[in-house]
Symmetry: C2
Subunit: 403 residues, 2 copies
């Protein structure tokens, strides 16, 4: 098999851990596999370099930032390759440039446009283990670029896709994807397999193992992704196509997102275009709106409720205020003490009653549901934050996820 | 003027010092000059990275070492450029690759083969300050290489030569070249100007401000080199062509080299080819031989005395022993308690009596001269190490270098 193994910052956090990483790669190679290793900077390095830059400027030039930040991954790649060579392996360290990662020109948040696999394929054919600096590529001018947050995962997935690797293993400090947060529900179980779509719903709602950008790319390139820990031999969770999961459970997991605030607009003028005007202005300000509900009041005006990330609340408030001042909205109120609990599972596509069970579970626990939103594979409920753990445990139990 | 300014590790040792470097560059630019900055890694960084590599291997692969070590200069270059931009300057950071530094394939000790100045010249024409990562280039395969010890100085001199810069300033923590070591002779004076050849003689004999490799390249490319300190505005020392120094003093400086050991071979067999055989074997073992004297003994055999660096004494001894065992040498002895004092000056080319004054100064101070070697611009004397300071001060005084 051709396996891409990606090790994040904590997995290469110090020299002993780098040694462990090399040992793991070595073991995989000795089983007869070809391995391409993708590494992040040692944990803390990137933050240190960002701190250096911020010492000089609040807004450092992004080309300079890329030259600065891309150095961390080069260091790790060189060290892992040295460690592998010392173990007797034939390995070679590569920068993003050498590996053929071509990006657009958006410094510090570049998108991978193409991967020229010639050099990598040639080295693999020569029996070499490749150790590639993640998070970086080069633009058309030949300048180094970086891929933004989660960029090393993205490098790994893109390389796995381009090389048609059998597997792309993402090593972190958590052992896989769980049915829910084990810190809330101790009976949470690790999932063996999960579909891309389910993972996307879980990740966007607070399961921070993988950035959505990487999962989306894995889905697009049909890459079998595994998240697992570098600190033990425990098997991880395979993220794959729905078709590869023989018997998908009705519900795969319960996600909790505490990072939401609710904005209530009362007495929105019954005038065509007002609501769309409000949401357009919010979109222009890059406020991410999640759940929206709307209902008519007795006086003919409309009440609109929606949620935004807590960090975007102030920006949203400023925009809403302009409509209040114009008299288009009678009154507004804000609530940060809410959370969103979601039930996720591809099984619910073909099974009725999943949502009903969620609502009755809330009722059984005397939890009032403030807002509801649903998709093909998800039921989300906005509730008071104080009920967060109670709701998660109740739902985990109701769908028998500990079985 | 087009000025190349090179800042070494201690000059960019922390963020405040990097700020100072940017301020100095800024001042030079505001006087109407075009500036190309070449930087080393922050002091300690390269040693840290070497330590990391040695954690894994006693003999890490040199290509990996280059990928590892080249990261430090990238960081400094990016930071200096960010600091300059914050001051309102139009600057751009460049790796060795971007600056067009092409080297041979000798990883960790590459030689610069060519500099493609297109990108640099274009950026200078656009009014930009260039901030270039020193110590690095790329080989024909496009892999990063490093230039070995003193490599950043070499980058600066090579760039100055390729761009035909008016001046190449090398900033360190010392303020220039002195008539002798000020720690030995407090009356030592800083030289305003010195010729390449004098500098080469002084440097090879212990004045460690500049590596000979850089001075040789400056001489070859006709680069006006200035060594000065980054910690004050004090003027430094100009190293230039002999013709540019109007009134060269008879003697420019007194150098002291404590790092020599003397090997004495007594009763070398009077057989043709023995001496050349000994020195050939020493050369094969890369033992650097400095002063050699030879004289006939009464019994027809020969006595040969020579000096080697202390660090190469053991290697030399092993070779000499084989000749002793064969009976080609009757007896050998070794003395590490010696030093070499040298009087250097281009003026002595055209003036007699310089050597005579050196010998009489030794005599006046009751110092026995063990060995003598002379060149066009240098008189070297090997003496007992305990007289080192006495000899340096005596010579400094005799040639009136404090005047």
């Amino acid at each position: 098999m051709l396996i891409v193994q990606k090790f994040g910052g904590t997995s290469v956090g110090d020299l002993d851990r780098i040694e462990n990483v090399a040992a793991r790669v070595s073991k995989t190679v000795k089983k007869g596999n070809s391995v391409v290793v993708v590494v992040s900077a040692m944990s803390g390095e990137t933050n240190k370099l960002v701190g250096y830059a911020e010492h000089f400027s609040k807004n450092p030039a992004s080309a300079e930032m890329d030259m600065l930040l891309s150095s961390g991954e080069r260091v790790t790649a060189a060290l892992v390759s040295i460690a592998l060579q010392e173990m007797g392996h034939n390995s070679t360290a590569m920068t993003g440039r050498k590996a053929g990662i071509l990006t657009d020109n958006s410094h510090t948040k570049a998108r991978i446009e193409d991967i020229n696999t010639d050099t990598m394929k040639c080295a693999i054919k020569e029996g070499k283990i490749l150790v590639i600096a993640g998070f970086q590529g080069v633009n058309a001018k030949g300048d180094v670029t970086t891929l933004g947050r989660g960029g090393s995962d993205l490098s790994a997935v893109a390389i796995a896709g381009a090389l048609k690797a059998d597997l792309c293993e993402i090593y972190t400090d958590v052992s896989g994807i769980y049915t829910t947060d084990p810190r809330i529900e101790s009976k949470a179980k690790k999932l063996d397999k999960i579909s891309y779509d389910e993972m996307l719903e879980l990740a966007s709602m607070g399961a921070k193992v993988l950035q959505n950008r990487s999962v989306e790319m894995a889905k697009k390139l049909n890459v079998n992704l595994v998240t697992r820990t570098s600190f033990s031999d425990e098997e991880g969770t395979l993220i794959t196509r729905e078709e590869n999961i023989m018997e998908a459970p009705l519900v795969s997991g319960i996600a909790l997102d505490r990072n939401q605030a609710r904005i209530s607009l009362m007495g929105v003028k019954d005038k065509p275009g007002i609501a769309s005007d409000i949401f357009n202005k919010l979109a222009e300000a890059e406020v991410n709106i999640d759940v929206i509900i709307q209902n008519k009041a007795h006086d003919g005006t409309t009440n609109i409720d929606f949620t935004v990330p807590v960090s975007e609340l102030l920006g949203a408030k400023a925009i809403v205020d302009t409509f209040v001042q114009k008299g288009d909205i009678k009154d507004d109120s804000y609530n940060e003490d809410i959370c969103k609990v979601s039930v996720v599972g591809v099984g619910m596509k073909s099974h009725a009653g999943v949502a009903a069970k969620a609502f009755s579970t809330m009722a059984d626990n005397n939890i009032n549901i403030n807002m509801i939103s649903t998709s093909e594979i998800k039921v989300s409920m906005v509730i008071d934050e104080k009920y967060a753990e109670l709701a998660v445990r109740g739902l985990h139990d109701a769908y028998e996820l500990d079985k």
